[in-house]
Amino acid sequence: MLHNIKDNYITSVNNYIQNFDDKSFRKLAGKDFKSWPDPLEETWRLSRLGSLSRKKIEPISLDAQEPIMSKLNVVGSNTIKFINGAFRKDMSSNLPKGVSLIELNESESLTFLSKIKNSNLKNHPSANASLSCTPSIVKLSVDKNAKIEELLEIHFEGGVESSSVHPVLFVELNENSSLSIIERFNHIGSLIMPLQLIEIKDYASLNSIKVFDDSHESYNLAAHCIIMSHKSLLNSFSLIKGSQFTRSETHAYLNGTNAKLNLNGVYISGNKQHHDLTTAIYHNVEECISKQIVRGVLGGESTGVFQGKVKVAPNAQKTDGQQMSKAILISDKASANAKPELEIYADDVVCAHGATVGELDDDQLFYLNSRGISKDKARLILIKAFLLDIISESVEETLHDFIFNEAQSALSSILKNEIEEFV
C-alpha cells in the first residue's frame, strides 16, 4: 500500500518529462529517480521521508499562480528572485559589473548533469527530481579577477500546496574573483528541492549565507555540491529555522591544494520540526583546511540531526579537518542526533571532531544566578550567547544583526513555550 502511494510522486515526475527527448538532461536525470531513499539507507536513517511519501505531490506547473509578494525585506544591494523555482528576470535587479546570470541551454545542462552525476549527489532525490522538473538551470557567474563588493541576495519564494518546487542554481566563481551571497528560502506549503553546484576556481573566494525559512508545513530537501580549486576559499553559514522538515545536504570536494572551507550552521527547532544538516567533505589533495561548527537549539518535540563526514584521500597529506557540533535541548521531548564520521587514508593529517548533545551548563547558569539574574533569564542569555557566538564567527560583520534577528525570531517562538519569563 505504502509502496503504491510512494510511487505517486515518482510517476508524476516521470509524466512531467515524458514528452522530452530521450537524451535530454531531464529524461536522463528522471530515469534515475525511481524511488525515495530507503529509510534503512545509512544517510537517511535519521531523516525519514515516510510522511512525505504519503502525501500526494505534483511538480509545480509552470503556469502556477504566483504568490502574493513576499514580505522579505531586502538586505543586499542586488536581489535575484526565483518564484516557484523559476528565475524571474523581471523581478530581479541589475547585476553588478563582473557578474552574469544566464539560463543554461540543453547542451550546457547536460554538462551540468554530468557534474552532478559525478558527485555523491547522483542518487539524491532533489538532484534527480529537480533536474527533471526545473524550469531551467540558472548559472550565476563571476568573471575572472572580479571582486564584487556589493552583497548579492537571492530569494527563493512561491510554492503551492501539494506541489514540488525545483530551483537549480550553478554558481561559478572564476579565477581570483570574489563574491558574497545571501540566499533565503521562503516557500509556502510545498516540497522544495533546491539543487546547487558551486564551483570556486583558483584563488577565488565566496561568502555564502543561507537562511532556510519555509512555511511550517513545507519540506525542504536542499542538495549542494561544492567543488573547490587551488587556494580557493568558501565561508558558508546556514541557518535552518522554518519548515516542518528541512534537510540541507552538502558534498564539498577539496580538489585543489590549499583550499579552505568553513562550513558552519545553526538550526533552531521547535514544535514537531525536523532539521537536518548533513555534510560530507572530501579532502582529495594535500594541504587543505576544512572547519565546521554546527549548533542546534531544540524545543518542543523537535528533532535535530547533524551528520558530518570528513574523508581524507591517501595523498591528501597535511590535511587539517576540524568538526564540532553541539546541540542544546530545552525541552524534555526534543532530541538531537549527531553523527560525526572521519575516514582518513593519509597519515600526516590533523583531524578532530567532537559532538555533544545536552542541556545548558550548570556552572554558567549558577554564575548568572549568583549575579541576581533569574533562572529563566539566565537560560535565555546562554542560549542567545550560544548562537551569537557562532554567528559572529561565521558571518560578515555587516550581516551580524540581520542574521541574529533571524535567529532571534525563531528562538522567540520556541522559547515562549519553554521559558515563562521570556522577553
Partner: protein, 250 residues
C-alpha cells in the same frame, strides 16, 4: 542584629557530612576571614550561602539582614544583597561583559527599588568603576571572562562587587592565581568597598591575602566546623605553625 547570621549549619554532599554545624555572626562594617586546609568545607560553605542547587542545608539556618535565606534561590539571594566572588570565575562565551554587568546591576537595583540604568548611563558608570580597578574598557567589550588572564578575572569579580553594592560579599580564594601586583589592585578594590553598611567574608588558604585585606576576625574551619576564632593574629599563627597543630589541639 547581625548582617549575616549562620546558625548551626549542617550540609551533606553525596551522603557525606561536609558542614557539621557552622555558626557565625557577622555584623555591619566587619571583615571576617575563614581559613582552613583543603577539604575543610570552605568552598561548600560559599556555595551553600549563595544558594547553589544541591547545596541546601540539612539543618540550621542562615539569615541575611534578619531574613531567612533557606527558601530563596541563588538569584533571589543575590538580588537581596549577597555576593559571591568566585574562586574560578566562569567563562560565558557570547555574553558581552558590559551587557552582563548591566543585567546584573539592574536586577539588583530593580529589586531594591532603585531606578534601572539606561544603556548610556550604565556605560558611564561601569567605565568609572572599571578605571578604579584598572580594568580596561577593552575588557568590557569582550565576552565575560573569555580570554581574561587570571588577574583580569579576579579584577572583574571585584568590579562586579563594586557595582552591585552587596550587603555581604563572600570572596572565595580571591588571591588564588594572582601575582603580587594584581593582588594589590584586587585588595585595594575590596578595601575601597569596606563600609559601615556592609560586611565581607574572605575565604582563603593563606595568610598572604590578609596582609592586604586586614580582617577584624579570623576563623579556622576544619572538617566542617569552626574550631577556633580570634583576631588577625590567628592568621599569623596559621602561617607560622600550619593548620595541623590547631586541629590537633581542637
Amino acid at each position: 542584629m547581625s548582617l549575616l547570621e549562620i546558625k548551626n549549619a549542617c550540609l551533606k554532599l553525596d551522603n557525606k557530612n561536609i558542614l557539621n554545624g557552622v555558626s557565625l555572626s557577622i555584623n555591619s562594617g566587619e571583615v571576617h576571614a575563614i581559613m582552613g586546609p583543603n577539604g575543610s568545607g570552605k568552598s561548600t560553605l560559599s556555595y551553600m550561602l549563595s544558594g547553589r542547587d544541591g547545596y541546601e542545608l540539612e539543618s540550621g539556618e542562615i539569615l541575611l539582614d534578619g531574613q531567612s535565606l533557606s527558601d530563596m534561590s541563588a538569584d533571589e539571594r543575590a538580588r537581596s544583597g549577597l555576593f559571591l566572588a568566585f574562586q574560578y570565575p566562569v567563562e560565558l562565551p557570547g555574553v558581552g561583559a558590559m551587557s552582563f554587568l548591566r543585567e546584573a546591576v539592574n536586577s539588583r537595583r530593580k529589586f531594591i527599588g532603585q531606578e534601572e540604568f539606561d544603556h548610556l548611563a550604565f556605560v558611564k558608570e561601569a567605565r568609572k568603576e572599571a578605571s578604579k580597578m584598572f580594568v580596561k574598557d577593552e575588557m568590557l567589550k569582550r565576552a565575560v571572562n573569555v580570554g581574561f588572564s587570571g588577574g583580569e578575572k579576579k579584577k572583574f569579580e571585584i568590579l562586579q562587587m563594586a557595582m552591585l553594592k552587596p550587603k555581604v560579599s563572600i570572596l572565595d580564594e580571591t588571591d588564588s592565581g594572582l601575582d603580587v601586583d594584581a593582588l594589590k589592585i584586587v585588595s585595594d578594590g575590596v578595601n575601597a568597598q569596606r563600609s559601615d553598611d556592609n560586611a565581607i567574608v574572605v575565604i582563603t588558604h593563606y595568610q598572604r591575602l590578609l596582609d592586604y585585606i586586614v580582617p577584624d576576625f579570623v576563623h579556622i574551619l576544619s572538617e566542617g566546623v569552626i574550631i577556633k576564632s580570634g583576631g588577625p593574629e590567628l592568621a599569623l599563627e596559621v602561617e607560622k605553625n600550619g593548620y595541623a597543630g590547631m586541629i590537633n589541639a581542637a
